[in-house]
Amino acid sequence: MKFLRRFLDKIKPSFEEDRKFGKLHSTFEGFETFLFVPKTVTAQGAHIRDSIDLKRTMSVVVISLMPCLLFGMWNTGFQYFKSLGMEQTFCQYFLFGFWKILPIIVVSYVVGLGIEFAFAQVRKHEINEGFLVSGILIPLIMPVDVPLWMVAIATAFAVILGKEVFGGTGMNIWNPALLARAFVFFAYPSQMSGDKNWIADGFTGATPLSMAASGTEKLTEQLPSASDLFIGFIPGSIGETSKLAILMGACILLFTGVASWRIMFAAAVGGLGMGWIFNLLALNPYMELPPYYHLLMGGFAFGVVFMATDPVSASQTATGKLIYGLLIGILIVIIRVLNPGFPEGAMLAILLMNTFAPLIDHYVVGANIRRRMKRAKTSI
């Protein structure tokens, strides 16, 4: 690697501020730090620093998304050929999905990173790694047939208005990937209503969620079996169908400690609890659905594992995370069951709780302040 290092050292000066490629300074730096951990040493404070950095943290998330992505590719092909009544090999299913999904990923990364690089250059910052995750999350929560221009616009919207206007990664209020999904959902409702899903041209299949919303009685008999829902042999957005793949991702995230177990646990409790309360009310067939179906259907699992745990837009305090997760779980089920307009509740519930996360933290931190004030009074 000495050769590469020498090459970088040679071209480095021409990317300095006032030199020929000065305008690409941040871009060059981004690529250089990607290839080589810089030789920067600590200048003040602690002399040694942990080996962890944002690049590694974000790569863990990207790795944890791989099972979902790979399964999503296979499932796309599987659903397509199933609708045509054709049996194909595993590889053909996968390759079909691969070529269907790859362009979406490319568009998402090119548009998103392009904007990130430009903003970093203007601000004279280093390029932030946040979009590495958003860039893969966005395709995973899109339907397979989403037009590429729509992905591009949604990504641009999410990165610029969802993140950069607030100051970049770490400053945003909402999860950028969810914002992209919300954008296409509200801007192009006819294509993205969430109740029907493209499988093959001229053929759409109802997702389990829309079946549940319009179902009359005995929902469990109409819906795909719980095991199909779990493994993911169902139509849906690219990454959300297989709960097994999501669970594998969740294991990686929890094991490495990158995502908060508090949020995942609390959200599952909230979802199950709300489902159970609806069972008690039992006013319509949807309410009678066994609570665990809510965890298996739609974007609940994907949203809770990968979106709600986004540290920037979630609650920041430990207690706050429990409250935040619990409310997400409850809200997803409420929106699904009680709101006829939106079959999928995960996106809206998480965005709503993103909005309220600072408020939750405000009260949790407020309690800490009150403890301190009380202690000061009693000691006088």
């Binding site: 730090t33 810089p38 040493v41 040694i48 620093r49 080996s51 962890i52 946040g130 990158v258 920037v312």
Partner: protein
């Protein structure tokens, strides 16, 4: 039976090069220095000129705002040079020692050690006052204050842990004397925090002090953490802290009446050939220990203090007034190809995305590489895991960055100094300079509250 407090949060950074229990004497240094940068909360002025002859214990610096607070020469000799930096900022007064050492002597009568005023005057006179650190703010105490209590941490938990029991071995009487003296300075108690790991500690037998036992990982040995768990500092409170070795040095002074800057430090770190304890005079040039250092491969960093909170003294610098160790570690000034993506089995990390948690008994070599670039706060709940205090560190840091005095007060600025949050800085994914932000906040508080 002493109270036992269990500290559940924290992190032991396992580094190579902990000092063996083996005590030597460093060779005499060719130069000694008095450095204003060692002392916080005072504005120091010179009271000697180049060429002046000084004894060990002769004042070299005094505080502009309270001239009674003096910093004295550690050795007898001649003031050789006065080094100044930008805008003539005083960096250090360098003293060339005499072959024959002479110390200032003080007359300590029986009565003197019974009277608070006289004790304080003697300490001020002999330049020992700088031992006494005030909380809040971690600055040299104001001799006119009456502290609520005095806290001493009797053990160390920072990386490359110093065994205080070994460090103070043979000086138990001086330590007891120091405690007795300190007890006169407060109407409250003198608290001594000890580790649960050495019940056999000789400090356990100390009288005149309230002993509290702490168990747990670093920063359990930080006096700030101990104060927080015993009797937290509220707005308006003042407590004093003093390093355990300084307690023994204080006791020695009141026993002998002679100024003596000799102390024991641990010379440790992966770049030390044989890590060990040694007698050294505070302010000695680092070149006097160069024979112990392995600088055959790459640059090394000399740190007065521990690797989390100490100060970089450079390879031609001088040891400090405070601190019980000199850490020497490799500089990390080299590139690493795709380092962040590699398994990096030889790296220590608090994160489980590395594998050091699988080898709980292995110690690691850590260099000074930043291991990343500075980012905004992204990962949450990381600091809380290593800060055993009822404080929300990120909110406190943000209040400091926003210069919101009221919020800083509410969120606990009085309870912390840099060292308490040093681990937060170590584990930070975003490489945020936590300690310097805390110091900025404290400086702002001092300015606004005076």
């Amino acid at each position: 039976m002493s109270r036992v407090i269990k500290i559940r949060k924290g992190l032991n950074i396992r580094l190579q090069g902990a000092a063996e229990k083996f005590l030597t004497k460093a060779s005499h240094a060719e130069r000694y220095a008095v450095k204003p940068s060692d002392f916080k909360g005072v504005t120091l002025r010179l009271c000697v000129k180049q060429g002046d002859a000084v004894k060990a214990g002769t004042p070299v610096l005094y505080d502009k705002n309270n001239p009674a607070v003096k910093i004295v020469s550690p050795v007898s000799g001649v003031v050789e040079t006065i080094n100044r930096g930008d805008r003539r900022k005083l960096l250090e007064a360098v003293i060339k020692p005499d072959a024959e050492q002479v110390s200032e002597k003080f007359n300590i009568s029986e009565d003197a050690v019974k009277n608070r005023e006289q004790i304080i005057n003697l300490m001020l006179e002999a330049g020992l006052w700088a031992y006494v650190i005030q909380r809040p703010y971690g600055i040299i105490a104001n001799p006119n204050d009456k502290p609520k209590a005095i806290f001493i941490s009797g053990f160390d938990s920072a990386p490359l842990t110093v065994d205080m029991d070994f460090l103070l071995a043979g000086r138990e009487e001086h330590f007891q004397k120091g405690i007795d003296i300190l007890a006169k300075l407060t109407d409250g108690k003198v608290h001594l925090g000890l580790s649960s790991e050495d019940y056999g500690s000789k400090l356990n037998k100390v009288k005149n002090a309230e002993i509290t036992i702490f168990s747990g990982k670093h920063p359990a040995g930080n006096v700030g953490v101990q104060i927080h768990h015993i009797s937290p500092v509220n707005k308006g409170d003042i407590v004093w802290t003093i390093d355990a070795q300084h307690v023994a040095m204080l006791g020695r002074f009141f026993t002998t009446g002679v100024y003596n800057a000799d102390k024991v430090v641990a010379l440790c770190g992966s770049k030390v050939k044989r890590p060990q304890y040694m007698h050294i005079i505070a302010g000695a040039a680092i070149s006097s220990i160069s024979e112990f250092i392995d600088n055959s491969s790459g640059n090394v960093r000399y740190i007065n203090g521990d690797v989390l909170t100490g100060s970089n003294i450079g390879n031609d610098g001088y040891t400090g007034f405070y601190g019980n160790r000199i850490s020497v570690i490799p500089e990390g000034d080299r590139y690493e190809f795709l380092g962040w993506a590699m398994p990096r089995l030889n790296k220590f990390s608090a994160s489980r995305s590395y594998f050091s948690w699988l080898t709980p008994y292995k110690s690691y070599t850590q260099d000074t590489n930043l291991n990343g670039g500075e980012r905004a706060f992204v990962v949450t709940n990381q600091y809380e895991k290593v800060l055993p205090m009822d404080i929300y560190p990120v909110y406190l840091l943000k209040a400091i960055l926003a210069e919101n005095i009221e919020k800083m007060e509410q969120l606990g600025i009085y309870e912390v100094i840099e060292e308490d949050l040093a681990l937060c800085e170590f584990v930070c994914t975003s490489k945020i300079e936590v300690q310097s932000i805390i110091r900025r906040g404290i400086d702002l508080m001092i300015k606004e509250m005076s």
